[in-house]
Amino acid sequence: MIWAYLYNIVFYASCGVTVVATLLMISRHNAVHALLYLIVSSLSLAIIFYLLGAAFAAALEVIVYAGAVMILFVFVVMMLNQGQRSAALEAAWLPARGWIMPSILASILLALLLLGMNSEHPLQPYGVHGVAVKDVGIALFGPYVLVVELASFLLLSGLIGAFHIARKMPSHMDQNTLDEAGNG
């Protein structure tokens, strides 16, 4: 019994953290702080996944989203290192008036979500059966193998694109020679 209570407490606490962190992420003016809240939100999302029995999805949420994708975001923001001025600019771009319409839309969505959750299948998180890594693998390379192949196409095209952008210019075409040609 005590475990069920604990489970519920952790579950709702991480739900609350996710929602609050996501809201803060949207409303921060400092880009690095916003990213920090986005990371917190994806970490607490991972806890929710874990509690719902999807341990593998939880691990991937941390490894891929928090551990790789967000790091690239932070990397770029750090490299630009915009500081106080851009935070002030950001604040100027987001006047109180700008929040009205999005808030109305978001509350309509929230109402729909609550309505949907209130139907005959109420959420019963405790005691759900876990999904083993093996099941995920079998599903991915069984019924969903086409999707896996499509995703690998996408990754390959990304790789080729990156290779194209980062390739070495032939020596007669590098930027300096082009500039000189333009000046001359």
């Binding site: 690095v32 702080h33 920090l36 990371i39 341990a55 593998f56 939880a58 691990a59 991937l60 941390v62 490894i63 928090a66 551990g67 790789a68 790091i71 690239l72 932070v74 990397f75 750090m78 490299m79 290192n81 876990g130 083993a132 890594v133």
Partner: protein, 316 residues
Amino acid sequence: MDPLVNSLLNVVLILLSVVFGAALLTWLERRLLGIWQDRYGPNRVGPFGTLQIVADMIKLLMKQDWVPPFADRLIFIVAPAFAMFVVVAAFAVIPMAPGVGVVDLNIGLLFFLAMTSLGVYAVMFGAYASDNKYAMLGGLRAAAQMVSYEVFMGLSLMGVVMLAGTFNLRELVLAQVDGWFIGPQIIGFFIFFMAGIAESHRTPFDLPEAEHELTAGFHTEYSGMKFAMFFIGEYVSVLMSAAMITVLFFGGWLGPDWLPPIAWFLLKTITLVLLMILIRGSLPRPRYDQLMAFGWKFMLPLSLLNLIITGALILI
């Protein structure tokens, strides 16, 4: 014993021994480096200088706890704590002996990888919050290096996972009863060992804090206990790499009966730690672009090749 008391005891004892072990390692490393470099190292405080860590601790605790006025205060304070947190949390899944270990996760190996990948944030946010050019350069280097080396760190472990058929670290150890994975996975071991050193950014992979070009890299602005958190975190992560290699490639606590299982585990881990210190003492630091090229152009293809060969051998 009551299972709750037992697991609490496990948690407290493992936490304490990890942190004290890491603190002791700061002395051991300086002493060994000294001996290998034909000098004494710290040998004044206590027998053989073993109380040097107490002296260091007092010094660090007495220092003013200073946050630079230009720093991003909250992140500046959180970053070192996070550095310590992720490595200590990763220790939770390491099975040290039958019945010794904090938690037995089915996704133990993935949890370890998740914690290592979060470790980058401590360095990056520490660097960002310092608002210092050296720290920024160090942080950028650290991020690029750790993200790159993480890729094939994960790939190098998949060979072991394929052989054992599980992500559970305890089952991974038990799968090695008939033979340690160091034999069939020697390439995986080599890659994981290198990646482990790179993840804890120690020499020869200590470009993020290369003294001669970046003063102290990402922790330039840190002092006192905040610096100590980064410092001890690094040593905990050395211990963790060694413990992880022991579990994955050297059969964890398995060994002949004349020593208890936990002793085998500790013996193997300590040997690996000493090997890492010896590497630090003997190898020079490469250039930054050499480090990245080595990672992406040599280690990554090698780990993929290892994966293909392992898969083929399993299928035959």
